[in-house]
Symmetry: C2
Subunit: 195 residues, 2 copies
């Protein structure tokens, strides 16, 4: 289902002046929106219940104007202690982080944070199924990678600072990018469960 | 482990002037803090990974002052689409809502919102284990109730607007309130899994 752009073709590159509205994917969507759309599809068809967690915010001041909604006037971003997505698939707890790169051959490990790795490690220890979705925006491709492999890279067993696409093809799975769902990441997850 | 205060004893009542610092529980904690403490304990002892979700906020304006943290200067509370807590326990997806009342004999169903019921229904359909924790602040007692029973009450099969404590003693479970963990809600959950 995914489109293979010819090597070097900069189909999705956008001038700096349009940076704010960079668009990815088939339907002009950002990666996060593509995942949210997939989650809506999974929910509607009763395949899984997966939600993105809200951004953690420390609220300091709130105004309560008459006749209108409470307005937060001072707040700060807090460090998250988990990943962005979790939910349930066939009774299993699933938990994942979604990241993107403009690179064309490898995914930088620096995109991940210590707290995300630690959280997924904790979840796996308690029987959860954790993975990452890696979006290569220049290629319009999404790879699924089980946490255990990410953890091997992270703990530097492989002495590398990024994960090559050729490795992802071997130890990961290329998720179909299509219409319904936009990114079908339950396919590789089902394979893991079946193993 | 729980303390049974004599009927009518208003041990924990606080004058209006101190409303902001109403304190519950053995260690002067709010109910939410008691649950968060329990979750920390479960995490530390590798029994479960359960987190409270951040409050959903729609961020409108952010200032980026030099040499200090980004400051959110305009934001609004958004309606949540899920419950407050979820996580993993022995591979199972668990999901719950925690609510409190000052009542002494029954828990008002009006404390729950449609989106919370719908979310738990969706999760149960996908094999998740959903329940509610009901805190009776005047009694210092916490009851666990499986979602299926709450749903029966909610859909008004019982034609009532609240759940009586005597029903909770029959169809629910009184969680031990102690020190480590503060509220041991994994005990009834384990019973459900064992059934």
């Amino acid at each position: 289902m995914s489109i293979n752009y010819p090597k070097g073709m900069k189909q999705l590159n956008t001038p700096l002046s349009q940076k704010k509205s960079i668009q990815y994917g088939k339907r002009g969507m950002k990666f996060e929106d593509m995942i949210n759309e997939s989650n809506k599809y999974y929910l509607a068809y009763n395949k899984a219940v997966i939600h993105k967690k809200p951004t953690p915010v420390q609220i300091v001041k709130v105004d309560y104007p008459k006749r209108s909604a409470a307005k937060i006037t001072e707040a700060y971003f807090r460090q998250a202690s988990t990943t962005d997505y979790n939910g349930v698939f066939k009774g299993h707890y699933i938990d994942f982080e979604a990241k993107e790169t403009k690179n064309k051959t490898s995914f930088p490990l620096s995109n991940f944070h210590e707290h995300q790795i630690q959280h997924m490690l904790n979840c796996e220890k308690n029987g959860g199924l954790c993975f990452v979705l890696l979006w290569f925006s220049s290629l319009n491709k999404c790879y699924y990678l089980d946490f255990k492999y990410l953890y091997d890279f992270w703990t530097n067993k492989n002495q590398r600072k990024s994960i090559l696409i050729k490795d992802l093809l071997e130890i990961g799975f290329e998720c179909p990018v299509g219409y319904l769902p936009t990114i079908d990441y339950l396919i590789p997850l089902q394979k893991r469960i079946d193993c």
